[in-house]
Amino acid sequence: MIGGGAAGLEASSALASLGFRVVLVEKEDETGGHIKNWHALFPNRRPGTEVLQALRSKLSKEVELFSGKTVTEIKQVQGRFEVGSADGWKAEADAVLLTTGFSLFNASKKEEYGYGIYDNVITSADLESAFSAGKITMKNGEQPKRIGFVHCVGSRDEKAGNIYCSKVCCVTAVKQAIEVKQFLPECEVFCFYMDMRMFGRHYEELYKEAQEKYYIQFIRGRLSESTEDHTGKIILKVEDTLLGKPLKIGVDMLVLMVGMESPDITRKLGSELGLLNDSDRFLVSADQHISANVSEIPGLFFAGTCTGPKNIADTLADARSAALAIAGYFENNSNRS
Amino acid sequence: MTFNIFVIPFFGGLLFLLAVLFVRFTAWLATLDKSGRKKLGHGLLNGQVFPATWEVFMESLLHRRMFRQNKLLGYMHMSFAFGWLLLIVLGNLESRIYSGGHINPPYYPIFLKFFVHDKRTLPFELYTLPGFFRFIMDFVLLFILSGLVLALIKRARSKWFGMKRTTQHSKFDKWAITSLWFIFPLRLLAESFTAGVYQGGGFLTNTLGTFFAAFLPVEYLYYPAWWAYSTALGVFFVTLPWSRYMHIPTEVLLIYLRHFGIKTGKKPDSFSEIEIYSCPRCGVCIDVCQMNDAHRTNSTPAYFLRSLRYGTPDNDQNANCMLCGRCHEVCPVQIDTLAIRVAARYDDNKLLAPSFKYLDRFEPADSAADVLYFAGCMGHLTPAVKKAMLKILAASGEKFSFMDEDGSVCCGRPLLLAGLHEAAAELIQKNTHLIINSGAKTFVTSCPICYKVFNEEYKLPGVEVLHHSQYLLRLVESGKIKVNSTGITAVYHDPCELGRGSKIYDEPRTLLGQLVTLNKAEQERENSLCCGGSVGDLSMNHSERTVIRDEALKVLLASQPDILVTACPLCKKTFDNGTEAVVMDIAEVVSERLQPVTKKELVTAELAG
């Protein structure tokens, strides 16, 4: 099991409970992946730690966890696999499940948004850690009076290399917008969007709650560029497409909703194994409808966001289905060899 | 001259009251608009005074209408109003016995028992004139006190009176009501104490008097009791003009003016003020008002009129009424709450000046026809109704045209309901021009809201305005269309503007009678529940409307009919969103049950004309 995030933990627990011997490799020192950074989850804003603890506690002792190991290669040896990491650690397995997850788009690539250049331009991940730290302040320590959220940063953007929609940033933006208003009731919040893709259950209710209860304003116009004025305010230039007019507005803080990208490890392993989709660089399943967890290479399986953006619930469901697929694979192969 | 200092509070209070009433009434009458004054003049001469007086007797005294609504409440008010009048009249007659022919000061009859100590002549008491009066006066006093007991019970346990809510009183009301409640008990005490000393009381006061005399120093108590009685009266008279009891004198004036044909106009005027002051805030309208379902009790008519009277109407209260008319039906004083509400909205919105110059260019294709069908704005959002009507009209062989097929000019009533009369007039003028140009003799609309304004505000010489339920009945009865009936059960919902608004209750029912078996709904005809979708309400939000709709649906669907039938597109759309039950417009039911009419039958129908 390569990757100890949500999908990795869930699939390991599932397989362990089916009696399989599971080796879980995680590149960081602790399991949990991105959930560690999520203060509250949509749509009901429950604490991220709850899900994290639940996943970790489910992990039975038999699962052999190797953290702090970055897998660098997967070799096929007579129908079995040999997994090796950077520091020379090796492991053999009859089947390999890739749960390598995703990485966040590097916002500084959108230079014109000024991430890393202007003081108060942060990403959704930065904001989430600010929530965990319990205070939202600008670089000068003061509280922002107006915050702008920019949707589709590094998603649905050919220039940034990602034509696809990352699906979960819209609902995350609405959730974070509401949380900002709960932290700073006096703060004005704007969201600059192309389409509000609130695809999941109770997401539209969250959107309505944001409008009705928290007076969050939604302006349909993708941010073109942002600059800092002499007072340190960030001046945004968008077009209010619904009015057909350009619009200029100053905010104290800009939050970039960075999209999901295929992480380096997935690209490396994926291209080596010839399983990488060349347009979105996520992994290619044998059949995206019927066997989404199965790869072209027998014994190699995928689960979670390594096959494309997903929210946590879908990721966990995908992990469980991968466990079943693997169990089935061993089932009809046990009589084979 | 019989006089005692204690009469001053009563007498002063009475004079003060009469002065205030005089000033207030003359001010109102003087500021009536021209047509109002003309009607007043005619009314006084053309004998309208007698039916008006009869109504004053039947309503202001006996409270006949309230009796029909709520027996206990009716009796209580009658006991106070009628009882008190009897007390005054009989008191005066009684005082004639002892006045010896000369004029008595006005306070004399009220405090007669203080000035005259005519001992009871026991066995033949009733046969003597004074004895008879002693008995009658005590009896009337007892009659009033019985009403007082009911009033106290109602204040504590309004549920026993079948009233979910009673009116919350303003501070003036509290002063007035307390003083009113003390008047008659104090009179009883005063007369009983005096009787205790001089044995001059009737069956009630004398027995009480001798009872008190046994253990109370009645000779010292009776004088302060008269003082208390006089003060209670005085306080009541002084607070009356600013309290709900101003309704007593004002209602009388209202009844006369109403009989002379004066009505509340489009703008707030002195007559609408008279109506506002005639509201006793008895609270009968509060219970029937569906605003309670939406937790907006403060905009029920009683409280809104009070806010108007004390000059503190807030926008929300003003905008928040569906103008469904249920309160007007049950109001014992028959105050035109709707007209007052719309007039108040005129004041609120008169700054706004919608203008429709752009309509001048709108000239639809010439639609010469005998029958002009107007679906109305809402009709376009319920295509089933439009489709049904067009199918029926085609089947009927009538020469018709669909006036607002590609876009309508609004009938103007929604603007009227918001008090924007000048703007509505522009639309009315444009539609009138279109209708007259079409040369049609009959104008049929599917929407009761449109029907009411076409019927009442439009001047369409030579054109008969009909709601489609009326017109379809006429087609069936004239044989132009044939329908067959089925066994399915249905409940008919009277749309507010068709039922209460235009008094059309029976034609839809007769028509439906030939189509379905009609169940009765617990609240229908005059008391029909509003669907909640009304364009009359300006500020209610969607969730509040949903609560009202669901309450109405509970009542309408209680008998689990196969279908719920209504005759208004807005009601249909509103109900449809809230129930799985089948909701149909009456036209749809007719069009479903249409039978082919043979050529021969058509000809005979034609001949029958």
């Binding site: 500084s108 230079e111 250049i117 003081d119 560029e225 600059t227 004025d229 001046i235 | -």
Partner: protein, 358 residues
Amino acid sequence: MKHEGKKLVWQEYQKEIADDHFFYARSCIRQTFFPGSEKVFTKILKDELGKDVYDSEHHTSCTGIGYHADAVPFETTMTVVARQFALMTEAGYENYAASCITSFGLYTEILETWHHFPEVEAKAREFLFKATGREFKIPKNLAHASDIIYKFRHEIAEKAKYRLVDKNTGKPLRVVEHIGCHYSKMFPHKGVGGAEYPYVLTGMIEAWGGEVIDYPERRHCCGFGFRQYIVQANRGYSIACSKKKFDSMEPYEPDMIITNCPGCPMFLDRWQYALSEMEGKTYGKNGNGIPVFTYEEVAGLVLGYDPWEIGLQVHQVPAEPLLDKIGIEYDPGSKFKGPNGEDLGHPEAPSYLKFYKE
């Protein structure tokens, strides 16, 4: 402003600039707008830096204005550019230096087109040969004149007589730098520092002691834009662009504006006058405008050349307030004197824009 963030960006856009033997192609309009600039450029390279600059009188306009105004078809422009390269090859040079930004953008565009579509290059060669019988080689290095001054900015700094520093306060002058759009917006990697934060002028300013202002509308076009300016009906749009920039930079109270293109200094300078006439508003302090310079003029000033020698008297917004601030000596009286001292007459003073000492 996180400066390191910008440095990170600049590292990605390093550019290779030749250090000698330049074939210098002059601009067709800069000599009329700012006559001294090209003279100063060649003077600095030859006299100050001892570089070999070949200033051929045979080269023509690159037809950029015509091409961008849809008056000249692309094939014609390509053939003319091919002829320029032919002149360079015949003169035995391989490093091409363009004085005008639009030309530089055009040359880059043509070289990129030829790079991706060799057959187009072959056609250009064929046209050139048929028309002139000449052959040409692709220049080894194409640089804009400002790249070259940027490359030797430190050498100039060492020879500098003045610094871009306010004489009385000792504080660095607050300088607005405006890069011509055709420099790096079309091909970010062909400009020093890329498109978002070009470093070519910033480098000079920092080397000569000034401080750069990053105002919100820094990247906004100066309003020159061929079609906007050439067609009078559009001129309102052109002046509106400049106004947007001035309104945006005003709160920063800039001392001067430096540009590296023929059109930008022209419009940023002339439109300040037009705006003052139209709206009675001047953007410098107490009635002054913000003086606008080309980078060559600034280099000349820093090296101590006589302001009237490098043509500052042609500016609409007088440069004298800046010269005083830096402490450059000059003779106000000889501002409008001809080469041999004769009086060329004084222009009428504008209604609002303060016209400096008589």
